[in-house]
Amino acid sequence: MKPAKSLKKGWPIRTWVQLVFFAWIAVLAVGKGLAEAGVDIPFLPEVSLHAVCPFGGVVTLYNLATLGRYVQKIHASAVVLMALVFGLAVLLGPVFCGWVCPLGSIQEWIGKIGRKLLGKRYNRVLLPRTDRVLRYARYLVLVWVVYVTARSGSLIFSDFDPYYALFHFWTGEVAPTALVILGLTLAGSLLTERPWCKYACPYGALLGLFNKIRLFKVRRRPASCINCKLCDRACPMNISVSTDTNITDHQCISCYACTSENACPVPDTVVVETRAVKRPAESGQTGGSL
């Protein structure tokens, strides 16, 4: 079967959504900094980034349950956002990672430079086995962050958080460790897609689990698949889409890059839908060839 369409040109809608959220968070951060310096900007709410970070809602849950208080710097808004992002994840998986998170977005944008510099070697710098093992490191980070926050009642992770460092690096409030981690993350983005998301992000680790239960999953239809593996190459998280039918990999960020609306050249072959696709052995169908 021949490819039915060529790849689309121009910025995809996801990039626009990422830009909106990146700009919104940047404006909030600058607005807060100016307000603290005594410069009031009309119509700009004075909101700290901690107040609009859904991961803050996760780490404060223990304190909320045991003491009825939020962890320092965390407010009710973070818990509300946590619940909303969980709701989105139940529906669509970690769309927060793929469409909203500004740290994920900037890694992706820097990655475009890396892709130009390294060509096909980009996003393939680690040995597959090493890479596969390291992907679980973010669960260790998640357990550590939740534990130290529960034990101390303090937002200790902010001293290591590259997201906080990204939007506060000019304030002098950022711990050197967070700046170093931000620098390594951005530099690493020149070698591989979203290094922080893949190997260290505790929130991504948690949201990734929703890939197992999400209602709308990425599905590949073997009957019309031509095994071109463009879906594999398009996936920023190196998921092997071409060898599975229902993608439940914990690293999927719901970016739609692999789907027939983007990389896949055959219509209606890689889609996001609720209905499960039967495996070839179950349906008697096999994938076609190029």
Binding site: P12, P45, N63, Q72, G87, L88, S254, V272, R275
Partner: protein, 238 residues
């Protein structure tokens, strides 16, 4: 059911904006700390705000609103210029303003002033007040007890006797040094090098969960926070 890419932003914005809007409508949404202190839970003042829970982050406007005190009275009590922006001036800012004094005037001074000015229950400790604050308390409350009069006399400070070296002072501290304030948790104390036994010797009872703040514990157990803080600072000093 299939979900095309172009509908994903609609779902994202609908869930996030709709959820935030709903949270605002129901009063759940809050992006700042709730600026309402704890209330007395027993006695004839039960239900009223307890000045001992005024936090260093409260502005003078917050204090005035919560305890029904005129903002100008607060400014006069702490010898601040009448044109001070009370909506921006936090009670902890007093520490920097009066850093040149031997004794500390700060959030705890505001707590004691509010309690005595409004005749609310308070544990009188070694906190000091500017003499302007003492005069205002005496003027507003001719029925002060003898104990309160003696305490006021012993704890008033002439804030104009020493000229400040500068309007602000550096608030930085040596690496590893801990400043105990309303946000300090017991884990912070352990991390700073105190042992559980040392902390319990100050508290006079078992240490609670490590994620609890010292101040919340003191309020719950009716312990004077400033005394506990000072005793802990002595243990922490090299």
């Amino acid at each position: 059911m299939r979900l095309r890419q172009k509908f994903v932003p609609i779902v994202i914005f609908a869930v996030l904006l709709g959820g935030i809007g709903l949270a605002k409508l129901t009063g759940v949404w809050a992006t700042t700390t709730n600026r309402n202190p704890a209330r007395y839970n027993s006695g004839s003042f039960a239900g009223q705000y307890n000045p001992a829970d005024i936090r260093g982050s409260y502005t003078f406007t917050d204090v005035a609103r919560l305890f029904g005190i005129d903002e100008q009275v607060l400014l006069s009590a702490f010898a601040l210029p009448a044109d001070t922006d009370t909506s921006q001036y936090r009670t902890r800012d007093l520490e920097a303003r009066y850093a040149y004094l031997d004794q500390e005037i700060g959030n705890e001074s505001v707590q004691v002033f509010v309690a005595l000015y409004k005749q609310l229950p308070v544990v009188l400790d070694d906190t000091v007040l500017p003499e302007q604050a003492v005069d205002l308390i005496r003027g507003a409350n001719p029925d002060l007890t003898q104990e309160q009069r003696d305490w006021l006399q012993a704890h008033e400070v002439d804030v104009s006797s020493v000229s400040p070296p500068a309007e602000t002072v550096s608030s930085t501290h040596a690496a590893g040094e801990i400043q105990i304030n309303g946000k300090t948790t017991f884990q912070n104390l352990l991390d700073a090098g105190l042992s559980r036994q040392q902390i319990e010797s100050v508290l006079g009872q078992a240490m609670p969960a490590t994620n609890q703040t010292v101040k919340d514990f003191c309020l719950a157990e009716n312990l004077p926070f400033s005394d506990v803080k000072n005793a802990l600072m002595v243990l922490l000093s090299p």
